[in-house]
């Protein structure tokens, strides 16, 4: 027994040397993999620890601070627990004699009350500072104002100062830290609760009916940023995806100019346009400059300027457009778009029309 005590407790717990090697390998790979994932620069991974905008960056800083403090607490308490579990086992040597009965110690208990209080105080002050700086940030005069309206399973984006309406794919200008041009979002909902979450750009903020919320971001780098609705909003909450395109100032200007154009009228699409305007399409969808002025579905004026349809659920291709009109449930079961029951000829003509909406 005396010998057994000299063994390292962890050593005794592992079965054999070969087994140990496999366990070590498994543990190592499980530790390395998260590191690789987190280190990945892939823009497709919306990693909260790779901020690309001031609010996300400030959150990142305070979260690292919090992680550091909690890691410290973890290390201390975890070691204590492990020590106690291995040190104070009943062995044959201790026998059946009851250990000394200790009922408590005021000094020790006072210590482990006061120290956590101090930690909480520090953490709270740091937290409150970041809350204030993100939430109460002044709105510079050059800021872009966008109204985001959550709908069951898609996003409507309105640029009141520019007269643009679009859906699902938000375009905003990159912000130079030297002369910031942030984007401020006014968040509304047309039906149930939703939440706007693009982890690289900012924390999430909910879109709640009868309530106007706001959030802001000032992306430092151009590119595509992915996110999705983060508040359960109904059947297709999962496919209410979000794409934010951060454009260079020139590219953004060009995008604005093209979005301001009225809908194009191609002669080849006249047939399809007639079908569009004579079926139920126009009850929900708007195409600027035509009789179509529905409000329930995404604005289609510049449909072809978007990379995806169905709020990011499918890429914007000829086949997908056809499939989506024929049977929306095949792409997004439970979406509120009805199957249009068009014959093949009408369907083809309609897709030709939609494809002319550049």
């Amino acid at each position: 027994m005396r010998q057994a005590r000299n063994f390292h407790p962890l050593q005794a717990a592992l079965p054999s040397t070969t087994g140990k090697r496999y366990v070590a390998l498994a543990v190592l790979s499980l530790l390395v993999w998260p590191v690789l994932t987190f280190a990945s620069e892939s823009p497709a991974i919306p990693n909260i620890f790779r901020p690309a905008s001031t609010p996300a960056d400030e959150i990142h800083t305070i979260s690292r601070f919090t992680l550091m403090i909690t890691a410290l607490i973890f290390a201390v308490v975890f070691s204590l627990l492990v020590y106690v579990v291995f040190r104070f086992r009943r062995t044959a040597a201790t026998g059946d004699v009851e250990p000394p009965q200790v009922y408590g110690s005021n000094q020790i208990e006072l210590a482990w009350t006061v120290i956590p209080v101090l930690i909480v105080l520090v953490l709270f002050l740091a937290t409150a500072r970041v809350i204030h700086s993100v939430q109460d940030a002044p709105r510079p005069t050059g800021a872009l104002e966008v109204t985001a309206v959550g709908h069951q399973y898609w996003w409507e984006f309105r640029y009141p100062s520019l007269g643009i309406v679009t859906a699902n794919e938000l375009h905003i200008p990159v912000s130079d830290p030297a002369s910031p041009s942030p984007t401020f979002l006014k968040l509304l909902s047309a039906d149930t609760d939703h939440s706007f979450w693009v982890p690289l750009l900012a924390g999430k903020t909910d879109l709640i009916p009868n309530r106007a919320n706001s959030m802001w971001m000032d992306p430092h780098q151009t590119g595509l940023y992915l996110g999705q609705c983060a508040q359960y909003c109904g059947t297709q909450h999962a496919k209410m995806l979000l794409r934010v395109y951060v454009d260079s100032p020139d590219k953004f200007k060009a995008w604005v100019a093209s979005q301001k154009q009225p809908a194009r009228t191609d002669a080849v699409a006249a047939d399809g346009r007639k079908i569009f305007e004579q079926t139920a399409c126009v009850n929900c969808h708007a195409v600027a400059g035509t009789v179509a002025d529905g409000q329930f579905g995404p604005d289609l004026t510049h449909l072809m300027s978007r990379d995806t349809i169905a709020s990011g659920a499918a890429s914007n291709t000829h086949e997908n457009l056809k499939l989506w009109i024929r049977d929306p449930d095949a792409v997004k079961p439970g979406s509120l778009m009805p199957a249009m029951n068009l014959n093949e000829r009408d369907l083809n003509a309609l897709v030709v029309y939609l494809e002319s909406l550049r």
Partner: protein, 556 residues
């Protein structure tokens, strides 16, 4: 102590017919039988809720999976959450409380035995009402619906416009009915503890389990009331054309959030405090030492009870409260960490210098300590409002609260099952199977819930029935799902062990653990009247005093 028994000729179970036995269980007002009924009810729902969770995890094993439809997935996570909170965790804890409190305070029954039975049956019927939605959700002609609004049922998803049919009504009424049952049980707990203690058992001499259940019972009275009020308001909206939460008619979605979370957060402590209670009884006995710092443990629990009523809006950091409200709720939430930390340190203090006996109950308690530590620390991260703006509504949160509910509460419950099983059945469980259950469950738990944090940090929201490939989420979801099967097998071993041991386990005497509280002074299982002679105590550990007259328990 009172080991002699009273002979009651009328109660010879063995000679009674099958129907008489069933009748006996249905009409019983005996706190021990009601306790076991609660526990069995909860175990049945645990298996159902577990199957629902398995369906969720299978659906998420790969991106764009077609195992179930989005509608069914949404029903499953709603039913899983509702079932586990209201029809597993609550009843199982009420069951243990019912069984143990009178035995631990030297009483012959609860204060109101009939209210006790009434409360149990309300809970049971509430559960049945909820599950009837699978049949009656569309008003019977189109069976197959269940509520799909999420377990916190945010408005206006529950409004008639967005939730057609009756599935939400079954959810509302099920919780309303079982909530009244919970209030009945809580009144009974408080009254029993305050009025039925045996001679000599002052408040300061109550076992910690009793103290903690007193706090829990008192909390339930205040916790369930706002929930019940909100359910009634929702029913008014849905049946009488009210507009409390109907946003299309000017109602408020945020009002529902406040009502729900002022129930919902203290509810977490209603569930975890009884888990603390199990730990506070089991750890001392298997360390062979009294609980370290009894008074501060009581104070910390009462403190948690009070503070927990001021933290609810940390569930709402993303709904657009102003920066002062966000700071206030960050502070109150972090403050909860202080008494909770004290508890963990005191449990370590209890083990320090003890002689730990690694029987199954203690293994589960140690699992609890490690996991509750991590759950508490991720809780601190979530309390940090800006961090919460990223984490809330993501899989990180899901991992966090499963760490609390499974890693802490369920582990403590398993410990309690093994610890008090000999008392309830008179027989010992199989130790080898118990340890196998522990290790399999530990592996499964950590596979599922450790790795579940990561997709949350990588931007994966909760409650999505499928996800896009290429976002770095696939591997983690795969591992999470694999872990579920370990947990499932472990639970089967647990159930098999208990069922088998109930009939053929080795007979044990009154006190197999050499423990110190009053329940171990009577026979196993205890007679209907508990104690032939009402005990008289002069310290917190009456059986210790009996066994060690030379070194009696510290009296206060």
């Amino acid at each position: 102590m009172s080991t002699e028994s009273i002979v009651l000729t009328a109660v010879q179970d063995a000679s009674r017919s099958w129907s008489a036995i069933v009748h006996g269980w249905i009409t019983t007002v005996d706190h021990k039988r009601i306790g076991i009924l609660y526990i069995v009810l909860a175990l049945v729902f645990l298996v159902i809720g577990g199957m629902e969770a398995t369906i969720l995890r299978i659906q998420l094993i790969v991106p764009h999976n077609h195992f179930v439809s989005p509608q069914f997935f949404n029903q499953m996570f709603t039913m899983h959450g509702t079932t586990m909170i209201f029809f597993v965790a609550m009843p199982i804890l009420f069951g243990f409380g019912n069984y143990l409190i009178p035995l631990m305070i030297g009483a012959r029954d609860m204060a109101f035995p009939r209210v006790n039975a009434w409360s149990f049956w309300l809970t049971a019927f509430g559960g049945m009402l909820l599950y009837f939605s699978f049949i009656g959700g569309y008003g019977l002609y189109g069976a197959g619906a269940a509520p799909d609004v999420g377990w916190f049922a945010y408005a206006p998803l529950t409004a008639p416009a967005f939730s057609v049919g009756h599935s939400t009504d079954f959810w509302t009424l099920g919780l309303l009915v079982s909530g009244i049952g919970s209030i009945g049980a809580a009144v009974n707990f408080v009254a029993t503890i305050l009025c039925m203690r045996c001679p000599g058992m002052s408040l300061g001499r109550m076992p910690l389990l009793v103290w903690l259940n007193l706090v829990m019972g008192s909390m339930v009275l205040f916790v369930i009331s706002p929930l019940t009020a909100a359910q009634i308001m929702l029913a008014v909206d849905r049946f009488l054309g009210g507009h409390f939460f109907d946003t299309q008619a000017g109602g408020s979605a945020v009002l529902w959030m406040h009502f729900f979370w002022i129930f919902g957060h203290p509810e977490v402590y209603v569930l975890v405090i009884p888990a603390f209670a199990f730990i506070s009884e089991i750890v001392p006995v298997f360390s062979r030492k009294p609980i370290f710092g009894y008074p501060i443990m009581v104070a910390a629990t009462v403190g948690i009870g009070f503070v927990s009523f001021g933290v609810w809006a940390h569930h709402m950091f993303t709904v657009g409260m102003n920066s002062y409200a966000n700071s206030f709720f960050a502070l109150t939430t972090m403050v909860v960490g202080v008494p909770t930390g004290i508890k963990i340190f005191n449990w370590i203090g209890t083990m320090w210098g003890g002689q730990l006996q690694f029987k199954t109950p203690l293994l589960f308690c140690i699992g609890f300590l490690f996991q509750f530590l991590i759950a508490g620390l991720t809780g601190i991260m979530l309390a940090c409002t800006p961090f919460n703006w990223q984490l809330s509504g993501s899989y990180f949160v899901v991992a966090h609260f499963h760490y609390v509910i499974v890693g802490a509460i369920l582990f403590a419950l398993f410990g309690a099952f093994y610890y008090w099983f000999p008392k309830m059945s008179g027989r010992m469980y199989n130790e080898t199977l118990g340890k196998l259950h522990f290790w399999l469950f530990v592996i499964g738990f950590h596979l599922t819930f450790d790795f579940m944090h990561i997709p949350g940090l990588l931007g994966m929201p909760r409650r999505i029935y499928t996800y896009e490939p290429g976002r770095g989420w696939e591997l983690w979801n795969l591992i999470c799902t694999i872990g579920v099967f370990f947990q499932g097998i472990a639970v089967l071993i647990f159930v098999a062990n208990l069922v088998r041991s109930w009939f053929v386990g080795k007979l044990v005497g009154n006190d197999p653990w050499d423990a110190w509280t009053l329940e171990w002074s009577t026979s196993s299982p205890p007679p209907e009247y508990n104690f032939a002679e009402i005990p008289v105590v002069s310290s917190r550990r009456p059986l210790w005093d009996l066994k060690h007259p030379e070194d009696p328990d510290l009296d206060v």
